[in-house]
């Protein structure tokens, strides 16, 4: 009966990348009458099918950078290359119809219904009525809104979170390879924000678009981003790397300050429970003799036994002392059982451990079935491994990101090797 349940990493079905790569090639934006450029000679590669987060303090030029990708703001110098095509010279409206755009609070047209809002781009592209209607319903389902209920509503009849969802649906309407988001979750309450972020992650898993997202919230960047670009004034790219590496190896003091306190705790949010090696546990069923269970505990050298029901769901978690007091194991469910889902982050797991004061938590997978035990040591080991990996890895496929003639800006206490290395590789990807 003693099952050694292996920690299985969830394997996603191989999904097709529908996104397109973007290259900003020595792009600058100068406004007349301003001495300093808003964006100064930025070269940045955005890999296809990834989420790239642009973060930085207010007025650092991150939003200007974003808006130059769809040429809402025309660059003064430089080229924008989308999927290998130079789009700097083409008609801006045509370009924007090929790129989804989401702004804070959705930016919905208040005089149009949800369906009309979503249909606006497909209609401009000349889709047939039936195709547009089918697409609207498909997209509403994608963003978890019931089409029958929400199709004919007006934006003011929706909550902030729902408006934001419709905004995302509208941006995805014509199935663009690239999605640009400008502080998309800035205007919703924290609970809704977390839910929308989770939904964006799952939508991205399904669609594999290239998403460029501006935020000033570093935690959001860590949560959503495959890559994070940290900017300082004049859109000077300070560090462009994976969340893991930015947390483990901040390029300089500016990045450290921007990350803020608790870089270690933020690391915990990057790893999910199903990515770490779980401890096995002795399991037993209600009705088993406790003496049998105790002897199995002796054999395995464990101190606790997990009682599971017929469908493998954990009911109780009994210590040797508790077992010794029982003759047979009962079938009641302990409501205070420290249980964590395998998709939860290590941060959530640690939180549950701290609250339950057991120093460990039971991990459940699909249909709440028992998978194993995660304890504080497991988390410590996982963290030190992640840290070591982040320090030593050279970030396979790391995209280029640099400002021309601005190498001095990268100087810092940590010698800034990461960004400089990308400079050596040259502005590839053309």
């Amino acid at each position: 009966m003693s099952d050694n349940i292996p920690a299985t990493a969830s394997t996603d079905p191989a999904s097709v990348i529908t996104g397109a790569s973007i290259l900003l090639d020595q792009v600058s934006k100068r406004y007349p009458g301003q001495a300093k450029a808003a964006v100064d000679g930025l070269t940045m590669e955005i890999p296809a099918g990834k989420i790239v987060m642009l973060v930085g303090p207010s007025g650092c030029g991150k939003t200007t950078t974003l808006k130059m990708i769809n040429r809402l703001i025309e660059p003064t110098e430089g080229r924008i290359v989308l999927d290998g095509d130079d789009v700097t010279g083409i008609n801006g409206d045509d370009l924007r119809r090929r790129i989804g755009y989401v702004i804070q609070a959705g930016g919905l047209f208040p005089h149009m219904t949800v369906a009309t809002n979503i249909a606006i781009v497909p209609k401009m592209l000349g889709w047939s009525k039936d195709r547009v209607a089918a697409r609207v319903d498909e997209l509403l389902e994608l963003v978890s809104l019931d089409p029958a209920q929400y199709r004919d509503r007006f934006p003011r009849e929706l909550s902030g979170g729902q408006q934001q969802r419709v905004g995302v649906a509208r941006a995805l309407a014509a199935d663009p390879p690239v999605l640009l988001m400008d502080e998309p979750f800035g205007a919703v309450d924290p609970i809704t924000r977390v839910r929308l972020q989770d939904e964006l992650i799952s939508i991205q898993k399904e669609l594999q678009k290239t998403i460029v997202c501006v935020t000033h919230d570093f935690d959001e960047a860590v949560k959503l981003g495959d890559w994070i670009a940290i900017f300082t004034e004049g859109a000077q790219l300070v560090q462009y790397d994976t969340p893991e590496r930015i947390l483990a190896e901040p390029a300089n003091e500016f990045v450290e300050n921007f990350i803020g306190a608790g870089a270690g705790l933020k690391q915990l949010t990057l790893t999910r429970v199903n990515e770490v090696e779980l401890q096995s546990a002795v399991t037993a069923s209600p009705g088993d003799l406790s003496s049998d269970v105790l002897s199995r505990l002796d054999q395995q050298g464990h101190d606790h036994a997990v009682i599971i029901d017929g469908r493998n769901r954990p009911l109780q978690w009994l210590s040797r002392r508790q077992l010794a007091r029982l003759e047979r194991i009962g079938s009641t469910r302990d409501p205070r059982l420290p249980v964590v889902g395998e998709r939860a982050t290590l941060n959530d797991a640690l939180d549950i451990m701290l609250v339950s004061s057991v120093g460990a938590a039971l991990v459940t997978g699909g249909r709440d079935s028992f998978r194993g035990v995660v304890d504080v040591e497991t988390i410590m080991v996982a963290m030190s491994q992640a840290h070591a990996r982040a320090r030593t890895s050279h970030a396979e496929g790391k995209p280029v990101g640099i400002n021309t003639g601005a190498l001095t800006a990268l100087d810092g206490p940590h010698d800034g090797t990461a960004p400089l290395r990308s400079a050596d590789r040259g502005a590839g990807g053309e």
Binding site: D93, R96, G100, G107, F109, P110
Partner: protein
């Protein structure tokens, strides 16, 4: 009074219809003009300020004087009447159109441009419909105002109910003079109420439910 009206009922009805027709056609022309002017100026703060001061000071010109000034240029008849009515009708609509267009949330326009609407499409499909309730409120103000101004144009022998008022005033003290003036005034008031109701109905039909207050 009743006798006066019943003996001239056909004539009054015809004059009322002409008056109404003059006002409605002038309003349509004025709305188009005002929206076009507003569309040309609302993106420039300087031009917007000019438009606002013109629409404010224009209203201080006495209507009667303007009619008199136009007679030497355009002669008697319909032409000076239409010009005067349109001129005064444009002013409140222009003011409201500028307010309506400049008051639209920049985020909405940005997202319209962001999803690929051209400058003109953004105006026609987003900005104009969103400003429409405010523009229509201006049209209602205009309609009330120019009902009275249209009566003054009878001085230039224009069409409408003004004729009753002017002939009555010219023969004040004579037989049926007061009745003539009263008929003109009451008919103008009735027309004004009818037109206002029609404009409210137009609002119901043309303002999308999403922005109806």
């Amino acid at each position: 009074m009743i006798e006066y009206v019943s003996s001239r009922f056909g004539q009054i009805l015809f004059a009322s219809w002409q008056h109404f027709s003059l006002v409605v056609q002038s309003l349509i022309l004025a709305t188009v003009l005002a929206v076009v002017i507003a569309a040309l100026v609302y993106r420039s703060p300087a031009l917007t300020a000019v438009a606002n001061s013109v629409s404010a000071t224009g209203l201080t010109i006495p209507g009667f004087a303007l009619v008199g000034l136009l007679i030497p240029l355009f002669g008697f008849g319909v032409a000076p009447a239409v010009i005067v009515v349109v001129f005064f009708a444009v002013l409140p609509i222009l003011r409201n159109a500028v307010v309506g267009l400049t008051g639209i949330d920049g985020a909405v326009i940005e997202s319209a441009r962001g999803v690929g609407l051209s400058r003109f499409q953004t105006f026609r499909r987003v900005e104009l419909p969103m400003a429409w309730p405010v523009i229509l409120a201006g049209v209602r103000v205009s309609a009330q105002m120019v009902m009275g101004i249209a009566a003054i144009t009878a001085y230039a022998l224009g069409p409408g109910l003004g004729g009753f008022i002017f002939t009555g005033l010219a023969r004040l003290g004579g037989a049926n003079a007061l009745e003539s003036v009263a008929t003109g005034i009451i008919a103008v008031i009735i027309l004004a109420v009818v037109l206002d109701l029609l404009l409210v109905g137009l609002g119901r039909l043309t303002i999308p439910r999403g922005i109806r207050v």
